[in-house]
Symmetry: C2
Subunit: 341 residues, 2 copies
Amino acid sequence: MEVAPRPPATPASPTVITARELARHLGVSQSMVSRAFSPGASIAPEMRARVLRAAEELGYRPNVIAAALSRRRSSIVAIVMAELTNPFYPAVLEQLTEALQAAGLQSLLFTVPPGQPADSCLPLLRQYHVDAVVITSASLSSAGAAEWLGDGRAAVLFNRTAAGPTALDSVACDNLAGGRAAAEALLAQGRRRLAFVAGRADTSTSQDRERGFRAALAERGLPPPLRVEAGDFSYEAGHRAALALTGEADGIFFANDILALGGLDALRHESGLRVPADVAVIGFDDIPMAAWPAYRLTTLRQPVPAMVARAVELLQARLGGTAGPPRGERLPAELVARQSL
Amino acid sequence: MEVAPRPPATPASPTVITARELARHLGVSQSMVSRAFSPGASIAPEMRARVLRAAEELGYRPNVIAAALSRRRSSIVAIVMAELTNPFYPAVLEQLTEALQAAGLQSLLFTVPPGQPADSCLPLLRQYHVDAVVITSASLSSAGAAEWLGDGRAAVLFNRTAAGPTALDSVACDNLAGGRAAAEALLAQGRRRLAFVAGRADTSTSQDRERGFRAALAERGLPPPLRVEAGDFSYEAGHRAALALTGEADGIFFANDILALGGLDALRHESGLRVPADVAVIGFDDIPMAAWPAYRLTTLRQPVPAMVARAVELLQARLGGTAGPPRGERLPAELVARQSL
DNA sequence: AGCGTGATTGCATACGGATGCAAAGTCGCT
DNA sequence: AGCGACTTTGCATCCGTATGCAATCACGCT
C-alpha cells in the first residue's frame, strides 16, 4: 500500500469559520448559530441579529454539505441534458439555473449521450442525494422513474411527457395544438402537398407535433402528409430530410427549428428552390437564429420563461410536500409569423 | 413560532442502504465497506470483492455528501458561465461536463449576469465547498481570486487569461497568433482597408485578438485597422457594427463568430454588399453555424476538445497537490478556410 | 409570595463515511 | 518453536449542522 497517512486532512484555510467557532466567539451555543440561519426557528430576534452580524463580520456561511447531511436534503437539483447542441436547450438551461438559484437551489448538471435514456445517471443522482431532477431532452424509463420517486424526491420532465404509466410531473408546451397550428398556417397559404419532418422518432415532442399536424389535415378531409424521419434533431438531419423532400412537397413542417434551418439551407442552396415561393417552411421552438435575416423562419414559439417558472413551481410544491397527483402542464405555443411561408 | 416539530426527518426510503447496514449484513465493520470503495485503501482483495458484490446486490452506493463532509473534499467543480447565448459556450459546457464526469467530478453550474465579474457567486461557491472552479466567459477580480485560492482549492480560467498580478491557471487558445493569422489571411486576399470589430472590450479574448491583428499590420508597415466596438459578443452587436463599417472597409475581422454572423447578415441583407466579393469577413471560434451553407464563414477554430482536456488536467494536478506555479496554457488556433474571404 | 405559561437557550446526538491507531492474523525465516 | 515484519480488520472519533428535549428565564396573575 502506498498511500502515506496524511495529516488530519488538509488544514482548513484560516478564512473558513464553523458554526461552533462563531458560537464560541459570541459566547453562545452552536445551536443558536444554526437557528439564526433557519427561518422560523425558535430564536429571539435580538439574538438572531447578533449572530447574523457577527457572521457577516467573520465571514461565516453555513456549510451546505454538512447541512445537507444533517437535514437529509441537499438543495441541489440535477438537470439532465442531452442535446446541448440544439440551441433551444442552452436557453432553457440558463433560465432554469437562474430560476433555481433564485429559489435557493443549485443546479448539478448531468449530460447524457443523445438518444440514451436518462437512466444511466440515476446511480449518480442517488449518490449525490439531489432533491430533485429536471429531465430535459432525455427520457427516463418507467422503471427508472419508479426507482427514483418514492420518498421526498421530485422529478419534472421538461419539454417531454411521460411515456407509459409512471406518472411524473411534466411541463411542455402544447405540442398537439402547435402541430395543428402549423398545419393551419400552411393551409392558409394555399399549400396542399404537405410534409412532416420528424426528429428523433421516440420523443414525445416529435410525436405530438406530428399527431396534431395529421389531425388537422384529417379533420379537413385532406390526405396525410408526406413523412420523412430525420433521425435526430440536428441541422444536418434537417438538411438531408429536405433534400429527400425536394419536389415532393410545397409546404414542410419541421419538428423543430434546428431541423428547419438545415432544411431551409438545403432547399435554397442545394435544391435551388425559393422559400417561400416554391416551398413554405415552418418550424417549432423559436430559437434565436430563427429570427436572423438569413432565415426569417416562421415558427411556433415555446414559452420558455413560463415553462421554466412552472417547472420550478412544480418542483417546489413536490419538495414542500404540498402536491397532489402528478400534473402534466401544457402551455400554449405561439405562432411567430416571419418570411418562410 | 409556527413550525411543527417534524418526525425525525423524512423516513429514509427503504431502497437507500448505508455503509453500516451493508456492513452488518456482511458481518464486517463499516470501515471495510468504506475501504472497499477507496482505491488504494488497506483491504484484502477478497474482502473488497465480497463487499462490492454485496453492494451491487443491495444497491448500496456511498453517499457523496457524507463522504464530502468527512473527507473535506466534495468532488464537485463549479462551472461559472455567463454567455450561454453564444453558441461557443454550450459546446464547451457539454464537453467540460463530460470530461469532469469521466474524471469522477460533478459540475455545479453557476450563471452570472453577462458583464458581471464572477465574484458574485463566490459566497455560494464557498458554501458549497466546491473543490474547484472553472471560470468561462466571466472574469474574476484579483481580490476574488485571492480570496478563493489558498488551501487545496483550484481555479482555472477557460478562454480567459488572468488580468492583474493574481496568477491563476488558465487555458485559452493563442488569441494573439490567431489575430495575426486573421490579418495574414485578409492581406493574402489583397484586402487593404481592414477593420476590427471588438466584442466586450474588457475581455482578454477580444483584446488579444486585436493586438495580434494590429501587430501583424504594423510589422508590415501598414496602417492600423479601423475599429468598431460592438459592446458585447452577440449577433445583434455584430450586425450593428457591420452597418457602421459599410463602405469603410473591404476586410473585417470580427472578434468572434457570433459577431461575424451578425455582420455577415447585415452586409448581405442590409448593406447589399457581396461577401466576399465586396467585403471579406473572418471570425473566431468556429461555432457549428459558421459551417452552414447560409454563412460558410472563414474563421479561426478554437481547439475546444484539447482545451477542455488541458483544463481538466490542470485542475486535477492542482487538486492532487502536484502543481507548480500557475500556468497559462495557449493552444494554437487553426484557420478554417471557407467562403467568406 | 407562589405558580403557571410561553419564549429562549443549551445539551446531546444523529446524519453517513473516512481514517489514525491499535489489535489480530499471516508468513517466513532462523 | 519463536519472533519480527507486514497485512487486515475493527474501534473510536471527527467532519459541520440540525433538532428533539429538557432546562432556564421572564412575566403575569391569584
